[in-house]
């Protein structure tokens, strides 16, 4: 008997390979580096990501020329190379790069476990990229598990810190639960349609098969799985504790990266496989969006720990993204892509400021710790203010432009009620984002604090983020065009 190997087109994997290789080499290199040279591991990881980004940029043009569908597939339909995948390769590359920079400022450079940390970070980025490129539910699940497993470990990276342990355990238990839902959903969909390939599911539905109850339940379970990963209400319970307990650099990565990867897969499934069921899905997501925005913003109002506040804020932002998902179509999709970039920049920027302010010493995470910082560290505080204004959606920042696109997509899809609830929510959010600025600029520090010099890497992350946030706020057209080109690959 002859084993028939599938034809593998390696092009779709090109940007993934340097990340995977980087993950392996960092682990090995760690063994051979003397303690004083451990920073080289971070540099190595940065280089791996940079190569991946360059490969993605290089594929951007050829992908369009390859054939009519603007799509290439690796291993049948399982891994897709289109501009949508490339867009997320680039976004995740950016997120990973900023995370490495702020990790360099956060981790004790002399610590022994640098290799593990960056290796896990790169593998988790790999999983996210795979999830974004998955054209098959199984591949999406593989990506999801790859990055989740790496993140469970990273969340518990402070082995001696109880809160970090708690964070890891909570994330693992609830994440496993969510994975179960997701996998069960895939099984039911397979039972109903006989396939896990997104294109074939779409073809099955278009062929006039009425969606069987089995299929609807499967879809519902998928929704729960996605809901967990993007931390939408009522599946958000894990998020605040996990985000608060995890090492700050990991929290930043989870907040930005997980959301991007999960929304990439969510969009692809939603727009590619299930356009026929838009009406049924959108009702459920409408409810999720309203709950997520409202609960996230209201609970964020009363937080006194900045990580926890940003955790609830990230829940609220998942709600805004869900608004765009309900709106659907290419406008809704493009606005999600745009917003994810804006969201990543402003969140990573805010976390980079937190890290730059604390240096390697004791964490300062209470909002009151920031009193008077506006005058002691004027540049970092001004950048933090920019990120807060951006998160609140006040122009001229990326956050405003992102919200503008999301709510205009909602109105284009005739979801007036949702848009009104959304903008009113963003008014509520203004209060707690501005509170950070109030504390930084309008109140005095209770006790004089010793200032540590900020790490150069973290400051670099802050500067990149703040320039990006302002650039997208003033000149959003370029990224919006990219987002539209990318979404065309899945939304037709």
């Amino acid at each position: 008997m002859e084993l028939v190997l599938p034809q593998i087109d390696w092009a779709p994997f090109a940007p993934l390979i340097p990340v995977a290789l980087g993950g392996l080499t960092t682990l090995v290199t760690d063994l051979f580096l003397p303690p004083g040279r451990k920073y080289l591991i971070a540099i190595l990881s940065l280089m791996a990501i940079a190569v991946s980004i360059l490969l993605s940029i290089g594929s951007w043009g050829p992908v369009l020329d390859s054939d009519l569908g603007m799509v290439r597939y690796g291993i049948h339909d399982a891994v897709v190379l289109d501009r949508f995948s490339l867009f997320f390769y680039l976004v995740l590359g950016l997120i990973c790069m900023l995370t490495i920079l702020l990790s360099m400022g956060y981790l004790d450079t002399a610590a022994a476990d640098q290799g593990e940390y960056y290796s896990l970070l790169l593998f988790s980025a790999l999983g996210m990229m795979l999830m974004a490129a998955g054209g098959d539910l199984i591949v999406i699940f593989l990506g999801l598990e790859t990055f989740s497993l790496a993140l469970y470990t990273l969340a518990g990276f402070w082995k001696a810190d109880l809160r970090s342990n708690e964070s890891a355990l909570k994330y693992l238990l609830l994440g496993a639960f969510a994975s179960g839902f997701f996998l069960y959903g895939i099984a039911l969909i397979y039972g109903a349609t006989g396939t896990t390939m997104l294109r074939q599911i779409a073809a099955f539905l278009v062929d006039g098969h009425p969606p069987a109850p089995l299929f609807m339940i499967g879809g519902g379970l998928l929704l729960v799985g996605f809901g967990f990963k993007i931390a939408s209400v009522p599946f958000h319970m894990w998020a605040p504790d996990v985000y608060e307990g995890a090492p700050t650099s990991v929290t930043a990565f989870m907040i930005a990266g997980t959301k991007a990867a999960a929304f990439a897969a969510f969009l692809r499934v939603f727009l590619l496989a299930l356009p026929a069921l838009h009406v049924q899905w959108s009702v459920a997501i409408w409810v999720l969006a309203v709950l997520t925005m409202t609960v996230g913003n209201l609970v964020a109002l009363v937080q006194s720990n900045i990580k926890r506040m940003l955790a609830y804020s990230s829940i609220a932002h998942a709600g805004y993204l869900l608004v765009a998902l309900v709106a659907g179509g290419s406008s809704g999709g493009a606005s999600i892509l745009f917003y994810l970039v804006a969201y990543a920049l402003m969140n990573l920027g805010a976390f980079a400021v937190i890290i730059a302010l604390q240096g390697h010493e004791q964490e300062r995470l209470l909002l009151t710790d920031y009193a008077g910082l506006g005058w002691q560290r004027p540049v970092l505080a001004a950048c933090m203010a920019v990120f807060m204004f951006s998160l609140a959606g006040i122009p001229p920042t990326a956050g405003f432009m992102g919200k503008l696109y999301i709510f205009s997509a909602a109105l284009e899809g005739r979801y007036l009620g949702l848009a009104v609830i959304g903008v009113l929510n963003s008014v509520v959010s203004v209060y707690f984002y501005l509170r950070v600025i109030v504390i930084m600029y309008m109140s005095e520090a209770a006790s004089p604090r010793s200032l540590v010099p900020a790490s150069i890497a973290a400051v670099l992350a802050v500067v990149i983020s703040v320039l990006g946030t302002l650039h997208l706020g003033l000149f959003p057209a370029g990224l919006l065009d990219l987002a539209r080109q990318s979404i065309a690959a899945v939304a037709g």
Binding site: P395, L404, L416, A419, V423, M442
Partner: protein, 522 residues
């Protein structure tokens, strides 16, 4: 347009931003240099805006000094600037008041001068942007963006309840604005539905067919945002807090310019975009305007804090402006635009005067003063002129604006005009009574007898305003004539769109000067 020697409006916006960049590299300890730099930049902006005034062609109704560039083509938004007879006076008011406000801050602001001046220049840039932006998205960016410097000005350099006041100011404004943003987007999509072109270009959107019912909703969303900013009763409660807590220059620009953005918004956006809805809403808004006039005046009477008194008087004065706008005839609307400028001058000057006395006595309580006219004769004289301007004494600017508004309103609705006139009388009551308690009689505190009169810098702040108060009072025609064409075009637009709707008959337009306007009302 032929008269542009370059992108002058963009230069007006960018110049203060360049000033900000310059300030960021100056050492924060060199306060004298920082102050002079900020003053120089805003003064240069004033000079540039005078070029706009001189080269402005009063015969043209449309936009002048137009600049247009691609910005976000995929959503149909462009970088589109221009000035017409409606925005010109407000543009000049902005560039005129900012250097004065900066000069007035030389002594009052003791800490964090660099950050303060950066905020002032950012604010100037934002305010100019609001008055010259002709693309809805661009307008919104300026409209909300300028909240940021004002938020810092009140929150950092304000009084004891500054944080409460500044958050209230931002949240009120945001709450109204976000619904306007949705209405803007909805309007663009409606326009796309009927013309096939997605655009946020104001001039293209004007005159588009919008169903009456939809117009009402969209108008309501715009009107809410603008009414909060004006502020009209019952949306005025943020104003006294913001004014009382803001530093002097913050109050000057808040009252002088920011409030005008609301009334300007009605004229620039709400009326021309939704003419039928504007006519339908006119009675309601007029009633609210009259309530604002009377309520603001009555509440002013019982204030014991000078700043609070002036803040409430702003509610009353802006009520006149709103009443004039919704009378929708030439006299009333021109009176309203003129009154926006007048209020900016007189109320701005009042806040400056209160700031000067506060720097000397560290109190603003009326009962603390008395007999100041003997110790501070120059101060008292300036205060008197400004008070008279605020009351509307003939020969000063306030009279012209109020008279035009009342005359125009009288033709449309006699009752409103009569009630509003009551507001003029009440204004005389609360202002003169305040003046009397502060300036005349026996001094109630010994400290009042040893105060220094205002010096050269303070005279340099007040004299330009007083000269303008006199100039507009005696010869308002240069300003009014520059408004004519644009206001007529605006009203014609409203009238033609609402031809089937019965709107009150209006007299033939009068193209002459102020004297002709007065005669035509007899």
């Amino acid at each position: 347009m032929s008269q542009t020697g370059g992108p002058i409006l963009s230069t007006l916006i960018v110049l203060p931003l360049l000033g900000v960049l310059l300030l960021t590299i100056v050492d924060g300890a060199r306060e004298g240099l920082i102050k002079r730099l900020a003053l120089a930049v805003s003064g240069l902006d004033l000079l540039l805006s005078l070029i706009v005034y001189v080269r402005f062609d009063p015969a043209k109704a449309g936009m002048q000094f137009v600049e247009r560039a691609l910005w976000i083509p995929s959503i149909g938004s462009s970088y589109f600037l221009g000035v017409d007879g409606i925005s010109l006076p407000l543009l000049l008011l902005t560039t005129f008041l900012t250097p004065i406000a900066i000069l007035a801050s030389f002594s009052g602001i003791a800490s964090r001068v660099k950050a303060y001046m950066i905020c002032m220049l950012l604010l100037q840039s934002g305010m100019i942007g609001v008055f010259v932006a002709l693309d809805l998205v661009l307008f919104y960016v300026f409209w909300e963006g300028m909240l940021i410097p004002m938020y810092f000005l009140i929150g950092v350099w304000g009084g004891s309840r500054r944080i409460y006041a500044t958050l209230k100011f931002v949240l009120y404004t945001m709450a109204g604005s976000v619904l306007m943003l949705l209405a803007m987007i909805a309007l663009a999509f409606l326009h796309q539905g009927s013309t096939g072109r997605l655009t946020f270009d104001l001039l293209e959107l004007i005159g588009g067919p919008i169903p009456y019912g939809t117009q009402l909703w969209l108008f309501a969303a715009f009107a809410l945002a603008f009414a909060i900013k004006v502020p009209m009763f019952p949306f005025h409660t943020w104003l006294p807090d913001a004014h009382v807590e803001a530093p002097t220059a913050g109050s000057v620009l808040l009252a002088g310019v920011l409030l005008k953005m609301g009334t300007y918004g009605f004229l620039r956006f709400a009326l021309p975009l939704f003419p039928e809805a504007a006519v339908a809403f006119a009675p309601l808004i007029s009633v609210l305007a009259v309530i604002s006039i009377l309520y603001g005046a009555l509440v002013s009477m019982v204030q014991d804090d000078l700043k609070r008194l002036i803040a409430y008087s702003s509610v009353s004065h802006l009520g006149f402006v709103m009443l004039g706008i919704f009378a929708m005839n030439l006299q009333a609307v021109e009176g309203s635009i003129l009154q926006m400028v007048n209020h900016g001058l007189s109320t701005g000057a009042l806040f400056l005067l209160v700031g000067m006395i506060y720097e000397r006595r560290h109190t603003r309580m009326i009962e603390e003063f008395g007999g100041l006219s003997r110790t501070l004769p120059r101060f008292a004289l300036c205060f008197l002129i400004v008070t008279m301007s605020s009351i509307g004494l003939p020969g000063l600017n306030g009279f012209v604006g109020e008279f035009l508004i009342l005359a125009g309103t009288f033709r449309v609705h006699k009752g409103f005009a009569v009630l509003a006139t009551l507001g003029v009388i009440l204004a005389a009551v609360y202002m003169l009574w305040m003046w009397q308690r502060v300036m005349w009689g026996k001094s109630r505190r010994a400290e009042n007898l040893t105060l220094d009169d205002i010096g050269r810098r303070e005279m340099a702040i007040l004299v330009p305003i007083i000269l303008l108060i006199l100039w507009i009072g005696l010869n308002p025609n240069p300003l009014l004539r520059r408004m004519d064409a644009s206001v007529i075009q605006l009203l014609e637009g409203v009238r033609s769109a609402t031809s089937e709707v019965r709107i009150p008959p209006s007299p033939p337009f009068v193209k002459g000067g102020w004297g002709d306007l007065v005669r035509s009302t007899n």
